[in-house]
Subunit: 237 residues, 2 copies
Amino acid sequence: MAKKEEIQHDCEHCHARYKSIFCQIAPDEVKIINENKWCQSLEKGQQLFAEGAYPHGIFCVNTGKIKIHQMGDEGREQIVRFAKEGDVVGYRAMLAGEKYSNSATAIDTTSICFIPKNVIFSLIEKDSNFSIQLIKLLSSNLKHAEESILHLAQKPVRERMAESLLFLKELYGLESDGITMSVSLSREEIATLVGTATETAIRLLSEFKSKKLVSFEGRKIQIIDVQGLLKVANIHD
Amino acid sequence: MAKKEEIQHDCEHCHARYKSIFCQIAPDEVKIINENKWCQSLEKGQQLFAEGAYPHGIFCVNTGKIKIHQMGDEGREQIVRFAKEGDVVGYRAMLAGEKYSNSATAIDTTSICFIPKNVIFSLIEKDSNFSIQLIKLLSSNLKHAEESILHLAQKPVRERMAESLLFLKELYGLESDGITMSVSLSREEIATLVGTATETAIRLLSEFKSKKLVSFEGRKIQIIDVQGLLKVANIHD
DNA sequence: TTTAAGATATGACATTTATCATATTTTTAA
DNA sequence: TTAAAAATATGATAAATGTCATATCTTAAA
């Protein structure tokens, strides 16, 4: 478990809430959440929860970046999803009443709020609109997961790499210079996202660099040629 | 769209309903569903809905087998999920208010019921327990999808093939002889499930046959050695 | 700073898997 | 039944990708 910080945010005016599944709930419900929530802060690399543990509530990302990952054979990690501001993590296992089937780790300094199980279930009971928000969130995650299945099964690694870079650019955006990706992952992490060996990921990134599709600024990747990447990813219109 | 049959089943005593997300709903709600539903029958190979179309309700499988598949590049199909008796299909897109992101096709003679959108949404509004059932269904689908991502990214084809055979055996069961799989898929379909080329799938199945892990009876596959398949699939305990 | 540890990079090579070609078998339709 | 079409099977080969080895660079710790 992550170390707990004493800073308690105010849910009512929370910028992340407006983007979250809690965006439409009634003021008294916001108050209940506010009184029962718990905020914590995570350093890059800190784990929020681990595969196999039991969930007691859900986590709402306030600021920062989280990766949802799973252990495969021989200890190889696989990134299956990301979360950013306004996203909810750890909800799948909690709603299903199961152990976590994957782990969540901060990939940047991250501030999250914990909302206990009973608060969520009473919200589902009282507010059907909230249920619909949850259902839409799950639906969206499922859609993306099934797209990943399609691409892992059918696209070659080079295409998936280009696609992953564009995906990360879309998801976390660029820094103010307009080219540097906000998210910074190690080559190994990129490999586990793309679904390939670390060396292959490194080689492909070098290739993309030599083709002037991307450039490297320290550990950060800069997107130089979006059109070129789309072409490599075999994505049209 | 599939051809419509006039046989209207009775939801109250429906064997499939007891296994479905509708298993706990109130009698008057069952009555409403019964009055608004529409039953149809599909031949093997008939499509229930197609990627890109707009959903107007959900389908509940009464008897039979359905594959959920998606088109990839160069028209290659990818199977992402299956449905059997009591399963609901076509709900993701409907709930999210989007076009179908995949298609559903009968892989056996199948009888399904169509339940209109408005009936489902009013159920969500009235019955929070029904929402939870839906949420659990989505959760379970998401969990399986993320497991597939892990396996596609990390397991070699041979392991995935063994795993897929065991998965199909679990899902659709065996015939009364105790060895023949109830579901019958073409080699090409198996390939799109496993995520490989048809020739590779054929070779692997021949290999499994020569290793006495499976045998073929016409188009049907018989599971001879579960332990052996588990070993090839690299699944322990 | 200096050293050690970790990350990135690259070459050589092995392995896996896909593709193409072509039989053979099975199913479908005339 | 017979021919045509589709599915299954198998060999030869190419292409993609993974693995191992090793070098270089970067970061963190002493």
